[in-house]
């Protein structure tokens, strides 16, 4: 149906998945792509399950419906597995990236993907964010992990976009912490 990539983010309100989708969109735009980044809003309350989406394409994107069969699924909070259907609609060869201290083999089982073609990557994004930012912000390491697991966005594009777009909003300490979180997310994501 057209040459584009679709991404779905799962998290809980306040974990930054809406911002992560925004930052990913901006980084892809910097690389000359056409992008969409949009949240799925419901009744908003802290801790409630939240989804956000991206579309990325070499051509202008005309679709304005929700993403229903994402090739890439990022899960910022593994306690959502079993509560929210995180594999819903994802094709057989989808890529899953999960914030967890567990191995990708264990996570593959939990996701019900044992023996399936899907690729599963894990990283302890919560710990990385505590180390680099001093608070729970699993979204930034997940972006780094996405760059490792896929070819459509590079770590450099993510880091450069963040430095350029957010230097006015955040202190240099926050910028450096986020860039470090992306780098560590990139190097610590493991799986296949």
């Amino acid at each position: 149906m057209g040459n584009y990539i679709e991404v779905r983010w799962h998290g809980r309100a306040q974990q930054g998945v809406v911002t992560a989708a925004k930052v990913l969109g901006e980084a892809c735009l910097r690389s000359g792509k056409y992008v969409q980044a949009f949240p799925e809003f419901g009744p908003e309350r802290m801790g409630a399950p939240v989804r956000a989406y991206n579309r990325v394409s070499d051509e202008p994107i005309r679709l304005h419906c929700q993403v229903s069969d994402p090739g890439y699924v990022l899960i910022a909070d593994s306690t959502l597995i079993g509560t929210v259907n995180v594999t819903e609609g994802a094709p057989d060869d989808a890529v899953f990236i999960v914030n967890t201290h567990k191995s990708s083999e264990e996570m593959r089982k939990e996701l019900g993907l044992a023996g399936k073609k899907a690729r599963v990557f894990t990283l302890d994004a919560s710990r990385i964010s505590l180390d680099t930012l001093g608070r729970l912000m699993p979204n930034t390491p997940l972006l780094g992990a996405l760059a490792k697991a896929t070819g459509f966005v590079t770590l450099d594009a993510l880091m450069e976009n963040f430095k350029e777009n957010y230097s006015k909003k955040f202190s240099s300490k926050v910028i450096e912490g986020n860039v470090e979180a992306m780098k560590r997310g990139f190097s610590e994501a493991k799986g296949e």
Partner: protein, 396 residues
């Protein structure tokens, strides 16, 4: 908010793009009462005001009725006035919308389309602006973030044109467009300033050398003449929309007309649909064209005044079409867009068959498969000339 551009492109939500256009237009007065999903417009614009990036007097009021009342007062005084709202907000403005248009005040309003209560819902449909379609406001609809931005800049010129002098609303889809980041090409501040020009009101209550009366009582002796003039001004807006859209295209490379057609030239079956869902429908058109099916799309941009003759001309060779409405007129004959399109086609010697489909109320997702299912019906009608179901709800 700092906006960074890459090769002239930025990634902005519809709300940010509208707020940015308002910053570039720099209206004299902006009375506002924020409401979901248009809140972001007022929020970001108020930052521009606080930062001194604009000279606008932002008036925070206690309701949308007051917001529109303040718009009317400021506009009658001779100011360039802009505001934004959604759903219940526009509904609460209702009484004052008619005062604004009757007094011929070129106020520009952005409506981020949202369903009306009850049941309460914050998501997209067009019930709000369709309810205001007879309020004497020019209505421009927008498919994308880019078009919403471009429409707002053009709306100022259209509304303030001396042959028009009517308020205008620019409509974009709640959440789908207002909260989605898309690529957008922004125009330089100076170029926007030049394009909209300096506002010189034809009449101003503050011009004491040339006193005027506005909003006076008129009875059987003259009310109907006022309304006739207003109606004629609205009809003239059609030409101004064409003129301004053409000039915008020449200056900035994106030309706009009364409506957009997509692969319609040799189409036998077509869908007529507003705003963001037209994009999704175009993807369905491409799918079917690959299979050799002759399908196309017409997306009205200007809904008030309704360009009935031009739309009838554009659709005259189609055998059958579906008009999709994201609003219901509740036991009227189909949805509001259907009413207009079908009525416009009545003047043709040989008329296409037309069906009505109501979709996507309260933000219900409208997918490519939904458009394909509608095309399936329309292609059958085109082949047989027989209509099974004239009106129905889809995306249920």
């Amino acid at each position: 908010m700092a906006i960074t551009m890459t090769k002239g492109q930025a990634g902005l939500t519809g709300n940010s793009a509208i707020a940015y256009a308002m910053k570039q237009i720099n209206p004299d007065v902006s009375p506002a009462y924020p409401i979901t999903p248009s809140t972001g417009i007022v929020e970001e614009f108020s930052s521009y005001v606080a930062d001194g990036a604009v000279e606008t007097e932002l008036i925070t009021v206690e309701s949308e009725h007051s917001a529109m009342s303040a718009c009317i007062g400021a506009s009658a005084a001779g100011a360039r006035v802009m505001t934004a709202t959604s759903a219940q907000g526009l509904a609460l403005m209702w009484e004052m919308l008619y005062v604004a248009s009757g007094m011929r005040l070129p106020i520009v309003l952005t409506d981020v389309n949202r369903a009306l209560s009850a049941p309460i819902n914050i998501h997209c449909d067009h019930s709000d602006t369709m309810g205001a379609r007879d309020a004497g406001w020019i209505q421009l609809y927008s498919e994308t973030v880019q078009e919403a931005y471009d429409n707002l800049i053009q709306a100022v010129r259209i509304a303030e044109n001396k042959n028009v002098l009517l308020p205008a609303m620019v409509c974009l889809d709640g959440f789908i467009t207002s909260h989605a980041i898309e690529n957008i090409t922004l125009i330089d501040d100076a170029a926007v300033k030049e394009f909209v020009g300096e506002y010189r009101p034809v009449h101003s209550l503050l011009d004491t050398d040339n006193p005027v009366t506005m909003g006076a009582m008129t009875l059987q002796d003259s009310y109907i003449e006022f309304k006739r003039q207003q109606s004629e001004a609205m009809a003239r807006a059609r030409d101004v929309v064409i003129e301004v859209g053409r000039e915008f295209g020449k200056k900035f490379g994106r030309a706009y007309g009364l409506f957009e057609t997509y692969r319609l030239d040799d189409a036998e079956a077509a869908i007529v649909i507003l705003n963001s869902a037209a994009g999704t429908t175009k993807v369905a058109v491409d799918e079917l064209r690959k299979q050799g099916r002759k399908v196309g799309l017409l997306r009205p941009r200007l809904f008030r005044p309704f360009p009935f003759a031009e739309i009838a001309e554009a659709l005259k060779n189609v055998k059958a079409l579906a008009v999709l409405d994201r609003a219901d007129s509740m036991s009227g004959f189909g949805g509001p867009v259907f009413n207009e399109v079908r009525s416009a086609l009545y003047e043709l010697e040989k008329r296409p068959r037309v069906i009505s489909r109501i979709y996507g109320l309260g933000g219900r997702d409208y997918k490519v498969k939904d458009a394909l299912a509608v095309f399936d019906d329309v292609l059958k009608i085109a082949a047989t000339g027989k209509v099974d179901t004239l009106q129905k709800y889809i995306t249920l």
